[in-house]
Amino acid sequence: MMPQLKARSGPFTHSRTSVREKMMTVLLALAPAVAFDLWLFGLPAIMLFVVTVSACVAFEALCLKQAGQPVAPTLGDGSAILTGSLLAMSLPPWGPWWIGVLGALIAIPLAKHAYGGIGRNLFNPAMVARVALLVSFPVVMTAWVAPHPLFAAGSPGFSDSLAILFGAAPAAFSVDAVASATPLGFVKTELSRGIAVSQSVASVPGLSDLFFGLRPGSLGETSALLILLGGLVLIWRRIISWHIPATVLATIFVVASLAHWLAPDRFASGTFHLFSGASFLGAFFIATDYVTSPVSKRGQLVFGFGVGLLAWVIRTFAGYPEGMAFAVLLMNALTPIIDQYTRPRILGRDRRGDPLPLREGAR
């Protein structure tokens, strides 16, 4: 038996990993948090989630076809589903169908394929979509609802949910009836009304509720616990390293605590910042996006610090209550330059690339 002999450079063995495996692991790690949030906000949230993810997958297929690239393998890697899920998690849970579709349109064809598809986009597609929607449709995008857990009394049924999805919510579920501010938003509004942070924080859900997620917010802004568990799974499975999430969270916590210590009436505490908003989702699932974050460990530390700092600055001083998406996008823009300045040291060379000097006494 004479085998087919082919000239190809080694190695002649390969790890069992693939892009698909990596994306699927991220999706699995995200799944508990998604499931919890969908339960918390009921059928309308499930419907919006399905619409958003389907739209992302459909746009991905269209774009690949348009670019003349093979559709099946790339679609099969799961990256569009992941983008769709992250986008859906940053939308208001009872948002209308078109906000999901429009978000998908911004995320996939505009933020991803306009740059050449997977691996080439400069900005995190889901965050580009979220920010574009937030700026364009501020009212829809901040129509937060109080939790309406699935199967609980007062949770909308199928037809009511459909009505909510198509923007014709019955009176009982109209925005005015169910609206509720997110903790970060509430504190910000109260501050602008002259009420000290220390006072307003007292009237938002307690830290444990924030941690477990029983409070208003976009899908992903809730349950910090499940996001944290998912993130730890990613680190354990070596899908991501600890560098970005740890620096993002540590920076937010340290900077916020410092400010809080200096002026408790003006600045919310470190723990409040850590457990409200999208701190955990951003740190573990968004800032760690492979394509748009630095590749070296040192670069990831710089990146994580930047995201944490900017998120706190935007939350505290800018017009929007939550700054995670903006912070990630701003640091995405810096990723190429961070990469350029944080290359690892080459073995046998110093950081400038010159060969190491010989030790004393060597001839």
Partner: protein, 482 residues
């Protein structure tokens, strides 16, 4: 002993147990042996025999030429039937000058140089000359002439001879078996080399996944008495590419070899265990390097084995000895699966640097079509040289060789860790091999253009001078006439 961490690295499936428990067997003498004149880094050897001549086992048949070269010896007795261009065990599939010997089956030894009675009383020069005359080259795969490396003691202050028993490549077990079965010979060879290098210490480093080899070597090392250096045998962590010279030196001594320098510049010389054994044979018995142990393994091999083969044995003869293929292999490899070369023909000979012949199934190779880079950074994390493979590959795709040289592609040792870990299955090492070759070709081109420029300027100057002389002559002659 305190060890030092090395950067990057991977933990592939080692699959060493396929062959590790099979004792070294000896290949029955093949009918024909193909001895290439170049089996090493450096200049090819000059043939000393002619077609039709009878040679005896161990006879010098080609002499090393120049400083960096190695001699070739007849692996058995027989008739030289051809000296010509035969396919080389090389990924190019090109031919190289080769001496073909038809074995006469008598395996009759030539007259060998006498043993060096007390090597530790002999001069380093005498040992170096014996190693040179025995045609010994590095048997870990790089095949650098060993005598040249033993002369490093003349120019460098060396304190450690490091014997490389890491054998970090998956599948390969030849060094493991040599250490288990011939520990005495390896340790003796190592001590002789240390004497030649004037190094005080010998450290044998073995990856922790070879406990029997570790124990066997330690037992022999403990019994070392008399003149000559003592030997320490240590275990090092299982981490590919621990067996890389620079990395092993770093792990064992904490000394980092500067780029473009040798490990000797930090006081350490590294030799493979097989090389140490060959030195033992050369010094104690006068026997040149004419055989080596080769691991035949992979799931597509019916009977994986460790086989002592005469140099020049065709791969097909070795495969037959291992009962051929169990299934159709997806890849045939000469050497280890990480840094080995593709085998393009079963007729090519096994040479001094051949450590293994692997027949791998589709499942083992796990080759997938490459997809776009997703910038996951895994390659950066595992690169033991501190390079950024994804960035280098991006530049090479656009043929920006100058930029990729600035990023350090020539510091890449093609260990394959980046390609192995890449989720997009991008053939990163292939890109770097291409870039390194293209850069070398460019440098050759540049040297040639410089030569052309200099010579054409000289030519031009000469023509002008001749023309000027002629004009002067003509002018002078004209003046006379008037």
């Amino acid at each position: 002993m305190k060890l030092f961490p090395i950067p990057g690295g991977i933990h592939p499936e080692y699959r060493k147990t396929l062959a590790s428990e099979v004792a070294i067997s000896t290949l029955p003498l093949p009918e024909r042996l193909h001895v290439p004149l170049q089996q090493h880094i450096g200049a090819a050897a000059d043939p000393l025999v002619g077609v039709g001549e009878r040679v005896r086992k161990g006879q010098l048949i080609a002499r090393g030429r120049g400083v960096v070269s190695a001699s070739q010896h007849a692996p058995t007795s027989g008739i030289v039937v051809e000296i010509g261009e035969l396919t080389a065990p090389h990924p190019s599939g090109l031919a190289q000058p080769t001496i073909v010997i038809e074995a006469d089956g008598q395996d009759e030894w030539a007259e060998l140089p006498p043993p060096i009675e007390d090597p530790f009383a002999a001069s380093p020069r005498a040992i170096q000359e014996r190693v040179d005359a025995s045609g010994i080259v590095g048997m870990g795969g790089a095949a650098f002439p060993s005598a040249v490396k033993l002369e490093l003691g003349n120019r460098h202050a060396l304190d450690i001879l490091l014997i490389n028993g890491a054998e970090c490549e998956p599948y390969l077990t030849c060094d493991d078996r040599v250490m288990r079965e011939h520990a005495t010979e390896v340790i003796d060879g190592a001590r002789i080399m240390a004497h030649a290098l004037r190094a005080e210490r010998v450290i044998v480093a073995i990856e922790d996944n070879k406990p029997q080899a570790l124990a066997a070597m330690q037992a022999v090392a403990a019994k070392v008495v008399g003149d000559g250096p003592s030997v320490e045998v240590i275990g090092v962590p299982v981490q590919y590419p621990m067996g890389s010279e620079r990395h092993l030196v770093l792990a064992v001594t904490g000394r980092e070899t500067p780029a473009k320098k040798l490990t000797a510049d930090v006081g350490v010389v590294v030799h493979n265990v097989g090389t140490a054994r060959a030195v033992h044979h050369a010094v104690r018995f006068g026997r040149p390097l004419i055989a080596r142990v080769v691991t035949v393994s992979g799931a597509a091999i019916r009977q994986p084995k460790n086989v002592e083969v005469p140099i020049g044995t065709p791969v097909s003869a070795l495969l037959d000895f291992c009962s051929g293929f169990a299934s159709e292999p997806a890849s045939l490899v000469l050497g280890g699966p990480m840094m080995g070369q593709p085998l393009l023909s079963l007729d090519v000979p096994l040479v001094k640097g051949s450590s293994g012949v692997l027949a791998l199934t589709r499942e083992e190779v796990n080759e997938q079509p490459a997809s776009t880079c997703i910038r996951c950074g895994s390659c950066v994390e595992v690169c033991p040289c501190g390079l950024v493979p994804l960035e280098m590959a991006a530049y090479i795709r656009k043929d920006k060789l100058k930029e990729v040289a600035a990023l350090g592609v020539t510091d890449c040792m093609s260990c394959g860790s980046c390609s192995w870990v890449c989720p997009s299955h991008i053939p990163l090492v292939h890109y770097f091999n291409y870039a390194k070759g293209a850069l070398a070709a460019e440098a050759r081109e540049q040297r040639k253009s410089e030569l052309v420029r200099v010579r054409s300027e000289a030519h031009q100057a000469r023509l002008e001078k001749i023309a000027a002389e002629r004009a002067a002559k003509r002018g002078g002659a004209g003046g006379n006439a008037a």
